[in-house]
Symmetry: C2
Subunit: 411 residues, 2 copies
């Protein structure tokens, strides 16, 4: 997960490989998706790494894992059988029961980065039950309720891994469409089971529904990590949340759990009822209403900005009090503002993607203790293609979760 | 100093008042100045406040203060006699011995914001000796060596003032070209004496040269404040400094004093000798050399960016390690970068202007203890016009300081 390096490689790759047909095919998706860039960032350019050819020929005959995969840039998912590695000494074998639907699933099933390694089995918000453990596994036992997030490997020996911030490791491996240390292309949670090193596996407390746990593994940690990093957990402080998708709605919930006064900023008045009555925000501001925005100037200590469409940063920075912090977790095409917006009030703009394994477990435990549950819509795997379309059209409140256990069957 | 509000008012004012002639006259200065925007930010739009007419008529006949003032947008300075208020109960009367030359002096003598209230007596890096004190003054005695910085008043009763962060006070008053609570237009340190409330006066330790103290009051605090706010004082960490003007060279000195490993990033190889041998930086990187920049990727914990010319933020953000912080104290025309530059590595861009009174005194004491002295070129007041020209052309290493005591005389 040497994002920076890979990003550059990815860009180069795009220039070399992009085909007009593909670009036209997906232009509409790119334009309409709220989260179009966020996950492109988390999973950049793995196709520039070695191993693709090797993997295609290294698939063993033991195709006992049933998944749904996209075969080409149409992104259409359909049943697909494949092999996973045998359970190693440090591995756990997890029977997947639920998998959240994240915009990353759109990105790689539809080859939006021109680096998709088909067949692509998406899904990195995985919840399930441990069915087997390797001989050296210490943290898990058969029957444990567990989760897997956006990455399944890292070097485990660098400064980042030693700090349990594996998300910064230069050898990190994404949960799907990544190239693992053994050269195989990783396949995600739209599948019956997964085998991973126990380090990248998280315990789900016993009373926490597995379906609700799934979205924590990506959407949850994506906002929890920066909120903790920037001390957005001080009761009585004020938080603004921009965007009410998978990440934004979790930011509101965390904000309330931290004792913050939460204001939702949205371009659409239609979100007001949802923000105040469903999510429990304290205040709602229509960001296109200049009077409302002006009245909210210098009013919040923090902002979690989950919007990926281009939006006016000067206007949002004006909402912050002195020393205020705006954390960007969305991915607009660019960030642009006047220096005055930062200098006056000594304000801060910061970015964040995912979190380390230690903090992911901490976040899950926090959600269980505080009874914080993502708003989910549980769907059968057969609805996955429509779900991805709806996600592109922002027609989801607030996270689809696929009921893998009960609906992913051999036909 | 409600910068945000005033900035808006200032912008409006510009639209109303700007004259083609003035714009053309100063276009060259605007284009060539490294620091063209920094101080425009610190002293915005005071002319939109009430009081200008009142002041012009309120000048008393007791014109015992000798200064040098600009009379019109030509910015040419010449001798000028004016009155200052009588010493109030909480006031100190300071005989000015030295005054630093800051880019703000160019901005307001030349009416670059169309808000100059002529005659303009510039100067906000003031050092001198207390000659009189009011009956209630507690902190100062006659004979004390003192300094005055960029502001001379504030409400003293808001949350910001109560936190000794008067620089954020909505009723702050700039040291020159500001409108004070009594309606008078403030006049700065290119003058024989000044009268101010003791709160905005700072003690200069006895062994610290007054000439060296002057630049601390603006250039010094402008980099010290954000460095402290962002924990850039942890020995062993690494600091990048962009720009080697009045602010940049102080950032290098503070960095070394804090025990940091300091790298200077400059567009020009000609700065290498100065950076390494004069300022004591550990490393020098030519920022236009892509190979050198690439080799410096992910190498520094912090960056103090003093450059006010437009520069590529993505390139500089790539220099930061994970969680790295770039503090902007310069004022380019805009700040623009890819979200990837922030999100990958969870990096931060922050801004800062000046500092509060508590921290200014702390910074002065720190400089005295650590024997940190700005690099100065002491000049006579008669050289002021040429000095401002040289400042515009970046031809100064690193701060002009006017010897007021010995050269400001009645002719």
């Amino acid at each position: 997960m040497d994002f920076g390096k890979n990003k550059i490689e990815c860009s180069k790759l795009k220039q070399k490989k992009s085909k007009r047909k593909v670009k036209i095919t997906f232009a509409n998706h790119l334009a309409t998706s709220q989260n179009r860039g966020l996950f492109s960032l988390r999973f950049p350019g793995a196709s520039s790494l070695p191993g693709f050819q090797k993997i295609m020929s290294s698939q063993s005959a033991n195709e006992d894992c049933l998944g749904w995969a996209a075969r080409d840039p149409s992104g259409v998912l359909s049943p697909y059988k494949f092999s996973r590695r045998a359970v190693g000494d440090d591995d756990v074998h997890i029977k997947i029961t639920y998998c959240g639907v994240c915009y990353a699933d759109v990105v790689w099933t539809r080859n939006k980065h021109n680096d998709s390694k088909y067949p692509v089995v998406p899904g990195h918000e995985i919840a399930g039950i441990v069915e087997k453990v390797g001989s050296k596994v210490q943290g898990f036992s058969v029957g444990d309720r567990v989760g897997v997030g956006t990455y399944v490997n890292s070097c485990r020996n660098c400064e980042h891994c030693n700090d349990r911030l594996e998300n910064f490791c230069g050898k990190g491996v994404y949960t799907f469409n990544g190239v693992d240390a053994d050269g195989t292309v990783t396949k995600g949670g739209y599948s019956s089971y997964i085998v991973i090193h126990e380090r990248y596996c998280f315990k789900i407390p016993k009373d926490y529904p597995l379906a609700s746990a799934a979205p924590l593994l990506c959407a949850g940690i994506s906002v929890y990590a920066p909120m903790m990093r920037h001390n957005m957990n001080e009761p009585g402080k004020s938080l603004g949340v921009i965007g009410l998708g998978g990440l934004g709605h979790m930011a509101v919930k965390f904000g309330k759990a931290f004792g913050l006064n939460v204001t939702v900023f949205s371009t659409s008045m239609s979100k007001k009822e949802e923000a105040l009555n469903v999510l429990g925000a304290d205040k709602f501001v229509v960001s296109s209403d200049q009077e409302q925005m002006k009245a909210s100037a210098n009013s919040v200590d923090f902002i979690v900005d989950t919007a990926s469409g281009d939006h006016p940063f000067d206007a949002y920075l004006s909402l912050l009090k002195k020393f205020g912090v705006l954390v960007l977790v969305g991915f607009p095409s660019e960030v642009k503002f006047s220096p005055a917006s930062l200098l006056l009030g000594a304000k801060t703009v910061s970015g964040s993607v995912t979190g380390g394994t230690k903090q992911i477990q901490e976040m899950i435990n926090f959600c269980a203790t505080k009874k914080i549950y993502p708003n989910i819509e549980v769907i059968p795997i057969q609805y996955a293609n429509e779900a991805l379309e709806r996600l592109i059209n922002r027609d989801v409140k607030h996270r689809f979760v696929i009921d893998i256990e009960n609906t992913l069957k051999e036909e």
